[in-house]
Amino acid sequence: MFQFPSILLSLITLPLLAILVILVIPETRSELVKGVSLWTSIIVFLISLFLWLSFDLSTPKYQFVEPFFSVPYSNINVFIGVDGISLFFVILTTFLIPLCLLASWDSIKFSIKEYNIAFLLMGSLLICVFTVLDVLFFYIFFEAILIPMFLVIGIWGSRERKIRASLQFFVYTLVGSVLMLLAILTIYAQTGTTDIQVLQTLSFSQELQIVFWLAFFASFAVKVPMLPVHLWLPEAHSEAPTAGSVILAGILLKMGGYGFLRFSIPIFPDASIYFTPLVYTLSAIAVIYTSLTTLRQVDMKRLIAYSSVAHMGFVTIGMFTMNIQGIEGSIFLMLSHGIVSSALFLCVGVVYDRHKTRIINYYSGLTVAMPVYSLIFLFFILANMGLPGTSSFVSEFMVLAGAFKSNIFITVLIATGGVWGAAYSLWLYNRTAFGNIRLTYITNFQDIDRREFFVFLPCVILVLVMGIYPEVFLNVMHASVQNLVEQVQ
């Protein structure tokens, strides 16, 4: 396979160049703005596929490594590169950004330029987050996403409550991550480097590992989110515009999981094992409690948001099983959830664009009026509850298999999550799609148009491929995950 010399760098810089182009386009030519940003993101997606094509499956090392940045007087020389863990996060990002832009093609009515700039910027920053091989710069990009996301929720969100939602999103994330910053600075003060390739070869004393692990945990747990600090998530997800929810659920939550895999587990292995019971407990509570909470939601987006918390509970358990099935299952679940829950938010977006409400009670009998939509919605509902043949089934199965080796009690507890998942998913679908059409509330119906169909189509195909032949994705991860597990043991 041929190798691009600077394929990662082009993924990062292309959206930035597009932003410069958009800045000079006058505000009135909104179609051109949308076109430029959509095509840039599609090109970025296609380029990112080359990463996968020319990826060397046999090595756990970082590939496509290239220098990115250096800070004078500080021994900070930042490299970017991907390994089996981060490759699919990069591709997931580049995959979802064009979908987001396409999904909000007509629904964003004002400040279109700034909206497109925000999404391109987020795409670029997210690729930086997933590829940068330096703790400090990971933190910088991790935090930098706050600015565009905060503005996207606050400016293009729909209701008065968005103000509260964006504030919660901002403050929760900031509180968590400043502690991580202090930990990073202490690591730098003690070791003189922030390069993770070097840090993974060092071993800190157990006391230090515990302190650092907790500081990192404060940040990642907010982002994942783990149970006591998940409160920002339903707010932010439900108040953001559709594309904002897609980015939040699809990628932003994964930054927390990625952080655990990239930093907490390999750099602080002892502390990770020490705190495994804590993570298990919080995650198991999250799976059961939030699944039950979803049952009493009246807002469709809030329901899906709570179900995201439940799924991320599976993810964190899978990671801390410290065996190959568990960790690969959790990565695969993150990918699967990134597509399935994004598609569900898009589904809600479709009816929201038409009827301007997300309250479940308003909808009924959509199968009669919107058959194609109902079919797609059903498909993703089934994928969300983990039906065999979809990607969620494979990943949840792998997580459970991994957890079974580690802790049977927890496995039994979270296995009930499948039942709860079926309960809320089917109930949501039942209430909205079946029954009589409520002409008292809604009189005009229109099935999905061509644009929306092409937003859903790639998601459907991906979910099926991942569900039927997951080995295509898993074989990329094997070497890196194997290496990670060996580091811990």
Partner: protein
């Protein structure tokens, strides 16, 4: 021996100061003659003299960076010139130039026609330049007084406003009180050591910690404490901050912009000289004091700012929080912390001037005045999205979000604190920066997230000069992430010269 021959070389090195002093005299006579001349119909010279002062500072800046000698101790060990002072002076001159630039629009439409405004700024700049290079307790006091006396008048400059008079009086009373403390501390130090020169004192204190002479030891400690507290008054660090919200609120807004940016540079440079050179061996004494003040400033400043409704009071409390961060840099007491402090100072001044150039440049269409309340910014993001985004980027930088410059300033300071094992103060610092995020975020929220578009303020078109200053400062804040080499390099270099 002729007096002028005796100081021949010394005069060469203080050329910028001499130049400013001379120009002040010329401009004074120019203003007095022309503004009262019936022949020219008594013109309003405020803007004219402001431009002249601006160019004066520009020439002084050139003189300063082309200094004939890089390192010298002059006037009978009264003043010191070295690369550290030169760069700090250059920075003071640059930021004062920016302050004069952004205030001209205000002078114009508020009809402040008296020309003394920019002359007072020149006088205080002269004081600050001397302050940066003081090398003796006596010259320290004289420079502080020259600076402060100009400030008292500046605070009370808007004669027809009661607030301004009140601000001037409050500032004067508390400023005089703290000058008294400074003088008292200096005399105690002189009484117990018999010397006023910084170098002599530093040499004396070098081994004093081990000498068992409790009387003179305690005397010196008390002297150091008095001097430190007097200077903490001047930078408005809590618990010595009481004057600052009232003075910031009452003073004319361009004066507030000046107060909140430039004097901090001069005073913190003085702190560096005093604490890192003169009193360095008594670090155990002043470190605790500074840490305590830093913690109180950060916590109290960020909490009190939450309930403010006026922009200038908000900026006053934000200044107190920022002084708290800077004091961490001093208290850490290492070369890393000097670099961190200098970087933070630079970024802080850029952010403050950027923010005030927005406040001073936008004029309310209805009231013909500036934005006074936070609510005046409502819906700015919808009426003028480019301006709104620019201001919110400055505010995000003040919060300390990467990749904006404000983050890096804080990062270097906290890194220095971590390096010196000051964990408590660092944790308190980041936590207070989270609390501080609330009130900056509130401004952004008002500008962008307001649902009803009925409540909004119409602005006149932003003044051109202010727009330029705003965009330059925004550019500096954005570019820092990409190329911070030059700033870090020079900060490192002048930090080294502090110790040499």
């Amino acid at each position: 021996m002729n007096f002028f021959n005796f100081f021949e070389n010394d005069f060469l090195v203080v050329f910028p100061e001499l130049f400013i002093a001379t120009v002040i005299i010329f401009l004074l006579s120019y203003g007095v003659i022309f503004s009262t001349s019936e022949y020219y119909k008594s013109p309003a010279l405020a803007v004219n003299v402001s431009w002249l002062s601006f160019f004066t500072l520009g020439i002084a800046l050139l003189l300063c960076i082309n200094n004939s000698s890089s390192s010298m101790i002059i006037f009978n060990n009264m003043l010191i010139i070295n690369p550290f002072t030169t760069l700090i002076k250059a920075f003071i001159l640059l930021s004062s130039m920016a302050c004069i630039l952004i205030s001209m629009n205000y002078l114009d439409y508020q009809r402040i026609n008296t020309f003394e405004y920019s002359l007072l700024i020149l006088l205080s700049v002269l004081g600050m330049l001397c302050l940066v290079s003081t090398y003796d307790l006596l010259s320290l006091y004289l420079a502080v007084e020259l600076m402060s006396l100009s400030f008292y008048i500046l605070a009370a400059y808007k004669r027809n406003s009661e607030f301004s008079g009140e601000a001037g009086l409050k500032y004067f009373i508390l400023g005089a009180f703290s000058s008294g403390l400074l003088l008292f501390g200096s005399s105690i130090l002189y009484g117990f050591t018999g010397m006023t020169n910084f170098e002599d004192i530093a040499k004396l204190l070098l081994g004093l910690g081990t000498i068992s002479d409790p009387l003179s030891y305690n005397g010196i400690v008390i002297g150091i404490l008095f001097v430190s507290i007097a200077l903490l008054f001047k930078v408005a660090a809590a618990p010595f901050h009481m004057w600052s919200p009232d003075v910031y609120e009452g003073s004319p807004t361009p004066v507030t912009a000046f107060f909140s940016s430039v004097p901090k540079v001069a005073l913190l440079a003085l702190y560096l000289r005093l604490f890192f050179y003169t009193f360095y061996d008594f670090i155990a004494v002043w470190q605790d004091l500074l840490l305590l003040c830093a913690m109180i400033s950060m916590v109290w400043g960020s909490i009190a700012a939450l309930s403010q409704t006026r922009i200038k009071r908000l900026m006053a409390y934000s200044g107190i929080v920022n002084v708290g961060y800077m004091l961490i840099g001093i208290a850490s007491g290492t070369i890393t912390s000097v670099v961190g402090l200098l970087v933070y100072l630079f970024i802080y001044v850029v952010m403050t001037i950027g923010f005030f150039s927005f406040i001073l440049g936008t004029q309310n269409y209805k009231t013909k005045g500036l934005n006074v309340y936070l609510l005046d910014l409502t819906n700015l993001g919808k009426t003028n999205i480019v301006l709104g985004l620019a201001v919110s980027l400055i505010l995000f930088s003040m919060i300390g979000l990467p990749p904006l410059a404000g983050f890096f300033g804080k990062m270097y300071l906290f890194f220095a604190a971590m390096n010196s094992n000051l964990y408590t103060v660092a944790i308190l610092g980041v936590m207070s920066s989270v609390v501080a995020a609330f009130y900056y975020i509130r401004l952004i929220k008002l500008m962008f997230f307001e649902m009803s578009s009925k409540r909004f303020t119409l602005y006149k078109q932003m003044d051109q000069v202010n727009a330029y200053v705003l965009s330059i400062s925004l550019f500096l804040l954005l570019i820092f992430f990409v190329s911070s080499d030059a700033l870090l390099l020079s900060c490192h270099r002048i930090g080294l010269f502090l110790f040499l």
